[in-house]
Symmetry: D2
Subunit: 288 residues, 4 copies
Amino acid sequence: MKGNDNTAILLIHCPDRPGILAAVTEFINRHQGNILYLDQYVNREEKVFFMRVEWDLTDFQIPREKIEEYFNTLIAIRFEMIFRLYFADELPRMAIFVSKLSHCLYDLMARYAAGEWKVKIPLIISNHKDLEPVAKRFGIDFYTFPINEKNKSEQEAMELQLLKENNINFCVLARYMQILSPEFIRNYPNKIINIHHSFLPAFAGSKPYHAAYERGVKIIGATGHYVTEDLDAGPIISQDVTRISHKDSVEDLIRKGRDLEKIVLSAAVEKHINRKILTYKNRTIVFQ
Amino acid sequence: MKGNDNTAILLIHCPDRPGILAAVTEFINRHQGNILYLDQYVNREEKVFFMRVEWDLTDFQIPREKIEEYFNTLIAIRFEMIFRLYFADELPRMAIFVSKLSHCLYDLMARYAAGEWKVKIPLIISNHKDLEPVAKRFGIDFYTFPINEKNKSEQEAMELQLLKENNINFCVLARYMQILSPEFIRNYPNKIINIHHSFLPAFAGSKPYHAAYERGVKIIGATGHYVTEDLDAGPIISQDVTRISHKDSVEDLIRKGRDLEKIVLSAAVEKHINRKILTYKNRTIVFQ
Amino acid sequence: MKGNDNTAILLIHCPDRPGILAAVTEFINRHQGNILYLDQYVNREEKVFFMRVEWDLTDFQIPREKIEEYFNTLIAIRFEMIFRLYFADELPRMAIFVSKLSHCLYDLMARYAAGEWKVKIPLIISNHKDLEPVAKRFGIDFYTFPINEKNKSEQEAMELQLLKENNINFCVLARYMQILSPEFIRNYPNKIINIHHSFLPAFAGSKPYHAAYERGVKIIGATGHYVTEDLDAGPIISQDVTRISHKDSVEDLIRKGRDLEKIVLSAAVEKHINRKILTYKNRTIVFQ
Amino acid sequence: MKGNDNTAILLIHCPDRPGILAAVTEFINRHQGNILYLDQYVNREEKVFFMRVEWDLTDFQIPREKIEEYFNTLIAIRFEMIFRLYFADELPRMAIFVSKLSHCLYDLMARYAAGEWKVKIPLIISNHKDLEPVAKRFGIDFYTFPINEKNKSEQEAMELQLLKENNINFCVLARYMQILSPEFIRNYPNKIINIHHSFLPAFAGSKPYHAAYERGVKIIGATGHYVTEDLDAGPIISQDVTRISHKDSVEDLIRKGRDLEKIVLSAAVEKHINRKILTYKNRTIVFQ
């Protein structure tokens, strides 16, 4: 991954009113920050301002550890901002959850191995042993937590323990075939990305390709979204579709869907890694 | 519309077994019919054979009015076929239903006026007066049947009477904002085409663009389908989608959706006019 | 077309440096302008800043006729800006050029008649009589200028005269099958929109569908672009594609292409009408 | 890969005339073959018949080693057919050529490791050492043949020798950055699949993403095609595209293009493996 990593990223939202954009850009410019990317969006109906700005820290006069405090004091309080500050060289740490299907895992691994993403992947968690050889191929630690009705809460507790020990910032469910408990999810609010194999909200729940076949749709899709306590109802990050016809059997849908799933999941993960996503009222703002 | 119109079209489905294709093509070839298009599909899971074949009648030895009888006697009974016979020069007669939105109506009218379709459109029916000027522009009769809770059944009865008098074969609901009664629908089974402004089964019912905005989807769509008694649940003929982002307001979705709606509706109508659709178990087989 | 029309629109580009965004937004805010839309983009490689901003003039303290001067004096000179100022209630005046194919013309007319666009269309120009009935249907003046090798320059001179008399701001070539002379084009730099029936730069020139068939592509497209002296080489505004297969004959490509052409052309025209396009080095910046 | 492998596949083309379809299906049915898939297409303009048929051999009365002879004698000669016979359980043997980019190789490897394809991949050939670790991860032999102007013909001779020794049926160029010599190509006519990173015929040759950026297109694409002696001009098998905007730098195009390239290449390879492609006059017929 080439490019300058000595940058700061601000994700902001606040009630819309005049002067926000000017105030933020002036704050950065005045202290010798060089803005590299700026994207903003105003929801006129709901009167909310959203912004992502990334700037070069090379000549920035405020030291890293003081930026959050200064920005809060000088700008954020005045505009009632909710904001998050990131540094591009502080790589997020990601855990992958899988079950038995390998296509999404391979796609994530290939990008990771090729250095496409600024991320650290210390571990893979699964409820089955099947994909351990894939993890081994890429030299990633693989932990198995078989889950049944009885042991679910204690197994999840152990998973959470493992995630904490490894300072995991966010989780990616790469066709993980278990429903996470609300307790688990509360530990990672808007920090668990799932791939659902339909264009949500159509065909939520299990066996979406079978349901799509039965309904006779002419297009199938996949959806990358944050996991919330409502199954398949969290904020949507990415979606894509492909055409099918009456000639496609359920097996054909599953086969065609695999390509969608891996591309759509990786697109969602990439946006998250690059801190390009804000969530608001169960929707996402995805900056370019 | 150039091309040979002296052709017959057979739409067939029956239990799959060896020899169907050979029997049908032999029937046509032996009597000097020249096959122009042949498309067949076998659903292996459900063991059903589907076929569309179109052939030139110029040298065909069986007279038009006898083809149905001969085919039934010589072929169809043996294979337990359900079949429909059409002649390309017998133009289907189509009625359009509209309310207040003009974009789908204009698209249908433009294609009709340009001679793109082998169809007759004797009349347009509406529950509002708004689009009468559009009908006038294209010289099509326009009938208004205002509908409220009390008069619905008698108004529909008058509409049906008008359709019968005009020998209407099928109806197209071009953003018609009334739900047809089951009695009405039974008069035109799989012969009423509706455009729904979402990628069904997502966002069935009213205000799909508002629902899509609220759900935060990244793709919106439109669906052309046959009307059945279950609202927005009939066999799907055509679908298409377009990308949206968080920047799109409900008004943007409505605007972008208009293009989808008209193209998807016209695609469904064209397939129906050209006798390219078979319905089976609430799904469609759409031949190319 | 609902919505507030008492707005000003600025399209700006200039060398990138710190403070541009702050200066422009401050200029608007300080004088009680309420920013409705703001979109900016910085080309980091070429170090150029691009911006579109639209604001409500209701309480704006600078009178309309002075805005250009004030903005120039107070902001533009300092940043070496090239800028254009528009008012949303000053509708651009558009001329349409056609030949014999009606589908793009109908699509433009339908949107115009439905009031989708903030534009005035005083006239249609053609080198053939064929589409005069379409113009009549919509009550638009239709002028015929038959063109051959000998009369081309004088006919174009008369067309230009007609355009001037009608204060035409921009022209739309809706499948106009004549190549405009460089002299003609120079009168409307980046103000003539053409639809080419291929995904440029593939299949520039005549008969692109035949060329696409011969080459055996699996996707065909259409391109909306500004006309420059280099044939089919001007700045691209909009493109779209559709899948084809070996089963599609040249006639099928032409039929499928019609839908692409009209949607892609109208998309380009809409962006132009809404002053959302900047051109730079034979490329377009198309704001959302 | 589940499913019945004891099947035969026939790919046929011949001058179109009545009775071909009946003759072929009768040949299979009469000898107790159970047809599983049948797809046919008639090019009406050029009067050529194309067909792919796959049938179950379990009860077929003609032994495997005699099918070709019998079919030729009884059917093919009469209709002047050019045909190829395959058996689904005779896995084609595929070699992969790579240079330094890993994304296409990983995609091929992941599908192979997951057992998605009925193929054998004995070896990977490269002109660089970079991707040897990827090959090792998947346990595939990796051979390096560095190529410069002087050694090209002798290195290609050694590559050909290696391919022969390994009974390689077809080659896949997965972003292989060397142009194969005509001599090499003649050894594998329509049996070398390349991925080109543009929607051909646009941007043939080197650096297509740079060219796309310069031209200012709004859509980029990728093309899977057979390699012929004319660079980037062989029969196209698969294409796909994705939208871009003025905001995308060349690096963005390269990044977005990677996903296209790997999906489009794998789609082409899958069709080839499943014997679903016929080539005719530098075009492909790709059966479903």
